[in-house]
């Protein structure tokens, strides 16, 4: 008989909006963190084609440091050393597979929200303020779709939800708390590209905060500038489409020619560049935009 028996891996299944995932691990803390964020999306049965996420921590060999291993669809994708790095890498592993496994969607690096049945895309690279803005807008009553992806179904031409936990950088904590969102500052993680981060479920910001499928009606490219006045500048649809193609994850891998989908996405949308400084005034400005009739002039704060 062995001296001790290794715990059997636990397997749980999740349907996080359009994304299905199965998580398997012996590490109770890894599963606990994941279910803290996605427990409300847990399902009883495995979904065919779900992204497979497996986390283990094999014994170290010789003098090498002991590392966690994150297997994504059977391949070791990440080997973080520290426990505080584990959750961000699990998230990353999941996101990594979204463009590869969902060719029915054209996918943009963007926050996406739904308000009164209208889809709003906030495309931008890391540091543009997408997640902070998404948090602020959800707090004010907008419905959350995702803070990292805008998933546009190429046949239905609808924006679908992938309500992953919102990843907030430490630099944004004060701004987020200033609008009345409570963060558990003790529970933070370390993401290689972003430093200290925390994750917050949209329903921790507001109950029933997850939005429904909707057509894209607004495309707003945010740029965060500390201390700047919030300002919106209209863009032509072609300019927006051109900028969108640069933040598209799978322009050549989806089931339609990406450029055609992008043109269809912006055809019925109003498009802007946004300079955001103060979170509350930026959210107020965006509220003004979505509630205004198309011909109205939007006055910047």
């Amino acid at each position: 008989m062995p001296m001790f028996r290794r715990r059997n891996p636990v397997e749980r299944h999740f349907t996080i909006g359009a994304v299905h995932a199965t998580v398997r691990t012996r590490l109770s803390h890894a599963m606990r963190h994941f279910t803290d964020m996605y427990g409300e999306f847990e399902t009883d049965a495995a979904i065919p084609g779900a992204i497979q996420l497996e986390i283990d921590r094999p014994r170290r060999k010789w003098l090498s440091r002991r590392r966690y291993r994150i297997h994504v669809n059977g391949t070791v994708q990440f080997e973080p050393e520290k426990r505080v790095e584990l959750v961000p890498y699990m998230e990353w592993g999941l996101n990594w597979q979204v463009p590869r496994t969902m060719p029915d969607y054209l996918q943009f690096h963007a926050s996406s929200l739904e308000v009164d049945g209208q889809g709003v895309i906030l495309p931008g690279h890391s540091g543009s303020g997408k997640s902070t803005l998404a948090t602020g807008l959800v707090k004010r009553g907008w419905n959350y779709l995702c803070d990292e992806f805008a998933l546009v179904h190429v046949k239905r031409m609808q924006l679908d939800a992938y309500p992953r936990a919102i990843c907030l950088k430490k630099a944004a904590f004060d701004a987020i708390e200033s609008i009345g969102v409570t963060l558990d500052r003790r529970k933070h993680f370390v993401k290689r590209t972003k430093g200290d981060v925390t994750f917050i479920s949209p329903t921790q910001i507001r109950p029933n905060a997850v939005g429904v499928s909707c057509p894209v009606r607004f495309v707003v490219f945010p740029t965060y500038k500390a201390g700047a006045a919030s300002e919106l500048m209209p863009m032509t649809r072609a300019q927006a489409a051109f900028a969108l193609h640069r933040v598209c994850f799978n322009l050549f891998e989806c089931h339609r020619l990406g450029l055609d989908v992008i043109a269809d996405v912006v055809r019925d949308a109003r498009c802007y560049r946004l300079t955001s400084g103060d979170l509350s005034s930026t959210c107020a400005l965006l509220e003004q935009v979505v509630s205004a009739a198309p011909s109205e002039v939007i006055r910047c704060a």
């Binding site: 072609a238 193609h245 050549f252 043109a263 055809r267």
Partner: protein, 99 residues
Amino acid sequence: MNGSALHATGEATRPLRRTDVHERELDGEALVYDPRTADTHLLNPTARMIWHACDGRSDETAITAKVVEAFLIDEGDARAHVAAALATLRERGLLESPG
């Protein structure tokens, strides 16, 4: 390399736009996807009009006349716009190379 995009015919040059690229028009502007290079280009209304005027029959003077007529601008300005646009289109490889 794309080489020169102008078709020499005697003294005149008659640029010809490539038809093996994918164009999507949006409110008078265009997104043009080039499958050879996987590049996407954004053409404003003037550039798009000039690109479409590159039919292999019109020389630079004829294209300039079309721009003057379409946008009601001074001929000198139009000539400068056309020259600059043709140079950019040539540089981006959106005009046919001479055969």
